[in-house]
Amino acid sequence: MNVVVAKTETGRAMSDALAIARDRLAGTGKVADYRRQAFDAYAREGLPHRRIEDWKYTDLRALMREVLPLAPAPDAPALTRAGSALKLHAIAGARRLVLVDGVFAPKLSELGDPEKGLGIRTLREVLEAGDAGLHTQLFAPDNSNPMVALNSAMMTDGMVIDVADGAVLTEPLHIVHIASGGTPAAMVTRSMLRLGKDSGATLVESYIAADGAKAYQAHDSLIVSIGNHARLDHVRLVEDGRDAFNISSAVVTLGAHAHFNTFGMTSGANVSRYQATIAFAGEGSRVETNGVNLLNGRQHADTTLFLDHAVPRCDSREVFRAVVDDRGHSVFQGRIIVRPKAQKTDAKMMTRALLLSDDAEADNKPELEIFADDVTCGHGATTGALDESLLFYLRARGLSEKEAQALLIQAFVGEAIESIANDTLRELAISAAQRWLEARG
């Protein structure tokens, strides 16, 4: 298994990589074909680089250089290490689904009592079973994005969750990705959540590492479909190890009169990229997507959102905040497209970056593409340092420089965190932000 899956150059030994990993990759027949197609698509492009517009600011050929071989399935010591890492991040009263090194770990998971209308399976089970329709959905994400293609080809496990029509889940679902920290390796996962009509759910995703986990790579993807009149609250917390890579994608589709509230916070990982495509497929739906990047050291975090207004009368709100210290580099690319039929669209996007050091960098690219005329669309972007006069005000009242800064930063990111509807989850995000501020010292 000690084969590097992809060098920066395409070609040579690439196609062997899939064959070598073969025994780890569930699914035969059609599934194997899908994997092969996806792998070929990835092999043609290789790792994305800065000459590809979408990856202009996140050059994976320079930052990541290569994709590591798949992590071996976790052994007992690995599970123990993962278990102790989990303690700090467990949410009381949530259904916990734990993936260690890219493999579902039932021992660490907390499935709770069965609930009516809720079905949970692992990706491995689903790929091995013969549900062709479901397989098509699982391989639906577009292979033209090389990192999505790689994920499709190499995914080992993940959760497949179904919420039936009319079922409103009482407990949040919590998917935890843990790197156990054996050898530097890649975990490749994919999860899917399907919400039926009039249903409701809360999903939390956490990315964490056991002590001593080194330069591992997390390649994750999430497929979500939200039925008519359904609602999903989603929180995503990236607290990976400081040497780690996290490359994640999400594809979300909303039916009519659906509601999607999502919040993402990245404070961990050395290099991370979250690319989400949110598409409106039914009228009268609403999306709130908010995000925070908290970076220091040499961290690089990229949030790339694509909102696709394909149908009339949908609203979207994007609020993004970046706090960048030391030599950190924050990237936000937000693209809103309003297609010709999507009249009465109301789309707003606001991105703000706070630079705390002279070596920090923040790049913002808020993009609007509008093909319909009866719309209200706007975006704003600002970049700057902490307000000197506010700092002075706080210092004059006896706060130390650090305390004053911390207070202002908290207020700054608070604007994005505020939007989390669920109280427990909001607290969770606030405490994650606080952890970052405290670590800053």
Binding site: P340, D363, P366, E367, F371, T376, C377, T383, G384
Partner: protein
């Protein structure tokens, strides 16, 4: 409402897709053989009696161009251009050396008369009287590739200002041209700029010596006349320490079926405390209502604020051309330097506009301001693409950007693609963009008070672009306002 009524009348006279400047001047012209090769480059250079170093410069650019590929990132679609199917040089056949205006081919003068350009010195623009006397404009008219007449030479000479065709400047002021040409837009800059470097035929050259405030507005009019010629003009403007110059550029082209290529390069340099104000009104033929014909306008414009406290201001009104690919930029190198970009881009019919600016903050306490107003009508696509960046050492950099788009009709598109890059914590950048259509309430209000639908739209649009119009010199502002109304005719109702 006199102005609006006048516009409406005018439009009634000319049909919507009857381009106002669509006439052709039938004069013999002197062309280079079709196609592009080293020989073409040599031909142009020889025609211009250029020194050897200039030919070498062109050839180097040409060789580099051969290794480059056409950029595809802009949101514009056009059939592939066959660069071997174009004439790269076209000049009205010289009958004899031109000494005064009277000797110029009357056909050409008539062309300009139709355009309403005050070529003759006596033709001072109507109604523009400044307290200290009449305001005058020096015109360097470029007819196809050659500057046919440059007026006001004497008075400018007195002030020490050099204003002449660049081909003449290469011969007469080689030291200045050598020092500055290609230093803002290097020959290797981009596909179209490299092509221009190889085959540029003429353009304007301006040098304003230290401490001189140019006594009049300088102006140039470009006109593409010959069939299938690309116009490759090259403009170089230098404002030495403490100098000031305002430069106006207007463009028209006759109606043609085949698309014509226009790949110009404009370079501006300001040294310490100097200022250049560059205004453009571009109303080249946009193609007919089916989207056939029209100019491809692929222009590289860049200003370099080389000195401290210097300033460069771009103002553009873009109403013409089938395709516009244009990003007037400012490199803010000197400390406390300032860059400005004011733009109105109007697209109607099948026009495609991909335009914007780059503000590159390198020096300390540099400031920039971008005001962009895009108006899309018909089935056109209108894109703002801009970059604001502050480098590590650009302490105290400030930028404010506002780009607003107005959509008229449900078949057009308006897009905003800004890049905001901050690498310095003290940089303060603000960017805002909005897109909307004209509010029904406002239109209803106007119509209720007796305005026609078109007049109401004209009123709203003029209000929408007011911020930018105010930046234009007076005589241009009037012309631009009319142009805007004319461009949008036929888009309502």
């Amino acid at each position: 409402m006199a102005a609006v009524q006048e516009t409406v009348d005018r439009v009634r006279r000319i049909d919507v897709d009857q381009y106002r400047y669509g006439f052709e001047t039938l004069i013999e012209s002197d062309k280079a053989p079709k196609g592009l090769s080293e020989d073409t480059v040599r031909f142009i250079s020889a025609k211009k009696s250029e020194p050897a170093w200039m030919l070498e410069w062109r050839l180097e650019a040409y060789r580099r161009w051969l290794t480059m590929t056409e950029p595809t990132w802009a949101r514009v679609n056009y059939p592939k251009i066959d660069y071997q199917d174009l004439y790269y040089y076209s000049a009205p056949k010289p009958k004899k050396q031109v000494a005064s205006l009277d000797e110029i081919d009357p056909e050409i003068l008539k062309t300009y008369e139709k355009l309403g350009i005050p070529l003759r010195e006596v033709e001072v623009l109507e109604g523009v009287v400044r307290p200290e006397g009449e305001r005058r404009i020096a015109v360097d008219a470029v007819f196809d590739s050659v500057s046919v007449a440059t007026t006001f030479q004497k008075e400018l000479k007195q002030a020490g200002v050099i204003f002449m065709p660049i081909s003449e400047a290469i011969r007469e002021h080689p030291e200045l041209v050598k020092k500055y040409l290609g230093t803002v837009v290097p020959t290797s800059d981009n596909y179209f700029a490299t092509l221009n470097s190889a085959v540029f035929s003429d353009g304007s050259f301006v040098y304003v010596p230290p401490g001189v405030r140019c006594p009049m507005e300088l102006s140039t009019y470009f006109r593409i006349n010959e069939r299938n010629t690309g116009q490759f003009e090259r403009t170089l403007i230098i404002a030495d320490k403490g100098a000031y110059v305002s430069y106006l550029e207007g463009c028209t082209a006759p109606q043609r079926d085949e698309n014509q290529l226009h790949a110009a390069v404009v370079e501006l340099v300001t040294l310490d405390d100097a200022e250049i104000k560059y205004s453009t009104v571009q109303n080249w033929y946009p193609g007919n209502s089916e989207g056939i014909g029209g100019i491809y306008n692929f222009v590289t414009k860049r200003g370099d604020c080389r000195g401290n406290n210097s300033k460069i201001s771009w103002t553009q009104v873009e109403t013409g051309s089938a395709i516009t690919w244009k990003y007037p930029s400012c490199i803010l190198r000197g400390d406390n330097s300032r860059g400005e970009f004011y733009s109105i881009a109007i697209s109607n019919g099948h026009q495609q506009v991909d335009s914007g600016t780059k503000m590159i903050h390198l020096g300390k306490n540099t400031t920039s301001r971008i005001i962009s107003k895009g108006i899309a009508a018909g089935v056109s696509q209108n894109t703002y693409r801009g970059l604001v960046t502050a480098h590590r050492k650009a302490t105290g950099a400030r930028n404010f950007t506002a780009c607003d788009s107005l959509l008229i009709g449900d078949k057009c598109g308006a897009h905003t693609v800004p890049y905001v890059e901050a690498k310095n914590s003290s940089a303060l950048f603000e960017h805002e963009a909005t897109t909307s259509k004209i509010s029904e309430d406002v239109l209803f209000y106007c119509v209720q008070r007796g305005l026609s639908q078109e007049e109401a739209v004209g009123l709203v649009v003029n209000g929408f672009v007011k911020d930018v119009l105010q930046q234009l010199p007076m005589e241009f502002a009037v012309e631009a306002q009319k142009l805007i109304s004319i461009s949008l005719e036929g888009s309502v109702g």
